[in-house]
């Protein structure tokens, strides 16, 4: 079933005029994973809790399928929720944890046992059924939390930073696992995360949030390739920020000329977000003595090897810093070192007219 939120607004502090969630609307399509992506404090967890019914909105509606759930209490909503800290029942075994939701439904004991067995098989925890949560690793607890949330056949699965408390390697493993799980049990899923890689890899649709508001809704490709706002452009892909001006219908960033955003007024200030992976550099053609100083060239200020990649830091002629990333083989082929002068191609920079109203 699809999940639709309309104009959701929530204040936590009645005295502050800034709401935690401000007029948020979007639709999570049925059977898909939709990511709510944003920095901490952007209101994404609150949106999830509003959908679950754990918070009541000041304004707006929550619609699941075609039924309005805004005033339905949590326990009647039939949503599965995986909490950031898992929230497993500490005094119950894994089996009892998973069975909890089924026992609430007053299923026959045999049916409960069978369902629990199936779920534990689904999350590959059959052997640990009689352990207590404190005897499990973080990744195992996470899987118990998933099994427990899926037990009641929820119409919607809500995941609040499900991999947040795990170390980097387990996170990456569990992302693949989540995709597989979703293929086998295609429940409409909302995933809250601050990790853009996670959102772009796992989900089919991304809602980018910032300061309680929705910045952009789109597919991962759209979010990455066509950021709608400066915030999205600055948030996705760790870009460098360069400033310039509209001149002769083009965005002029130092020595570079880029396509201007549509409707840009001549002379207005622009900002360009340049992603490390998009920038290309090259050695300048051998300079002849009469060319004079090559002022339009950038200087390599840092080369920092990280595994098979190299992070390069450049100083542009304007004095601005630009970070880029290349493979080690590319750097070796170029044969550049610190202090060298290079030509820069900014590639697919995202250009926005600066908004002074902020």
């Amino acid at each position: 079933m699809s999940v639709r939120v309309e104009q959701l607004t929530k204040h936590f502090d009645r005295n502050s005029r800034k709401p935690a969630v401000d007029d948020v609307s979007f639709t999570a399509p049925p059977g898909c994973i939709t990511a709510l992506l944003g920095p901490s404090g952007s209101g994404k967890t609150t949106v999830l809790r509003l959908i679950a019914g754990l918070e009541r909105p000041d304004r707006g509606r929550v619609v699941i399928g075609d039924r309005d759930f805004t005033d339905v209490p949590v326990r009647k909503r039939g949503v599965g929720f995986v909490f950031q800290g898992y929230a497993l029942f500490q005094h119950m075994t894994v089996r009892k944890n998973v069975a909890f939701g089924l026992e609430v439904k007053r299923l026959a004991r045999g049916a409960v046992a069978e369902k629990v067995r199936d779920l534990l098989a689904l999350v590959q925890l059959e052997e640990l059924a009689d352990r207590y949560p404190h005897q499990l690793s973080g990744g195992q607890r996470q899987r118990v939390a998933f099994a427990r949330a899926l037990a009641t056949d929820p119409a919607v699965l809500l995941l609040d930073e499900p991999f947040g408390a795990l170390d980097a390697r387990v996170r990456v493993e569990l992302r693949g696992w989540l995709r597989q799980l979703h293929q086998r049990t295609p429940v409409t899923t909302l995933l809250v995360t601050h990790d853009q890689e996670e959102a772009l890899e796992v989900s089919e649709r991304v809602v980018v949030m910032h300061e309680g508001r929705v910045e952009q809704v789109g597919t991962p490709h759209e979010i990455y390739d066509e950021p709608a706002t400066p915030f999205v452009a600055s948030f996705i892909g760790q870009p460098s920020l360069l400033r310039g001006r509209i001149e002769a219908g083009r965005a002029s960033i130092g020595a570079h000329s880029l396509a201007a955003p549509s409707g840009a007024i001549e002379g207005s200030a622009v900002q360009a977000y340049v992603r490390p992976a998009d920038v290309r550099i090259a050695k300048p053609p051998a300079a002849s003595p009469e060319d004079g100083p090559q002022v339009s060239l950038s200087i390599v200020e840092g080369l920092n090897r990280v595994g098979g990649n190299v992070k390069v830091e450049l100083r542009l002629p304007s004095g601005e810093r630009l970070g880029l990333q290349m493979t080690r083989a590319e750097i070796d082929a170029l044969g550049i070192g610190i202090g060298d002068r290079v030509l820069v191609d900014l590639g697919e920079a995202k250009v926005f007219v600066e908004d002074y109203s902020i």
Partner: protein, 263 residues
Amino acid sequence: MRWLLVGVAFTFVALLVVAPLAAVFAQAFGHGLAAYWRAVQSADTLGAIELTLLIAVIAVPLNLAFGLAASWLIAKYDFPGRSVLLSLIDLPFSVSPVIAGLLFVLLFGSQGLLGGFVARHGLHVIFALPGMVLATTFVTFPLVAREVLPLMQSLGSEEEEAALTLGASGPRLFFRVTLPKIRWGLVNGVILCNARAMGEFGAVTVVSGLIRGKTITMPLQIEILYNDYDFVGAFAVATLLTLLALVTLAVKRIVEGRQPGAS
């Protein structure tokens, strides 16, 4: 330096705790087991034991219910008057028990605010069991809440929220999720509450009126016997209360050892 501190600590404990404790038992058994046994079995003493138990049996469940309800309310909800309630819970700790007793006399005594109302309905509160139960309940009511509330606050509400999303109703949520989490804190609070209820002297003296054979609890009986120069009797009843205290401490130790997270 370390040995000096250890020495000071042990001397202090020996002087203030162990020696008086030993003295109580020495005095009680000073005239032999038979004398001790006779003292314990006197009608007045048996009556006092009975009354003490009766008061505890009424006051402790009252405080258990109140403590749980108040802790739940304060830990899980934000409502107007929350901080006022929180301070009021601590009030009995800061009021002298004698004053607490006097408060009830002023409230329910024949000249008191509610005295007329109570008298018209043929009820006896002051110098009777209801007043003694009220005074005891008042003095002991922070004990359960003070044990359970910090526990509830530190454990948070995530497990309860998880149970809610799984469809659990209020009672199921409480008995299956919350109660197992807080049970040892609760047991601890009840033990402390019980010990204090049985040992309460100040507030109970004021409302009891010291009617022999009727409104005398164990601590009051000790006082009476002592004033009558019946040292064996006084100390014999004292040993019973002391034993109760020791059992309470032992149970508390066991309970604390079973708490998850305790070393």
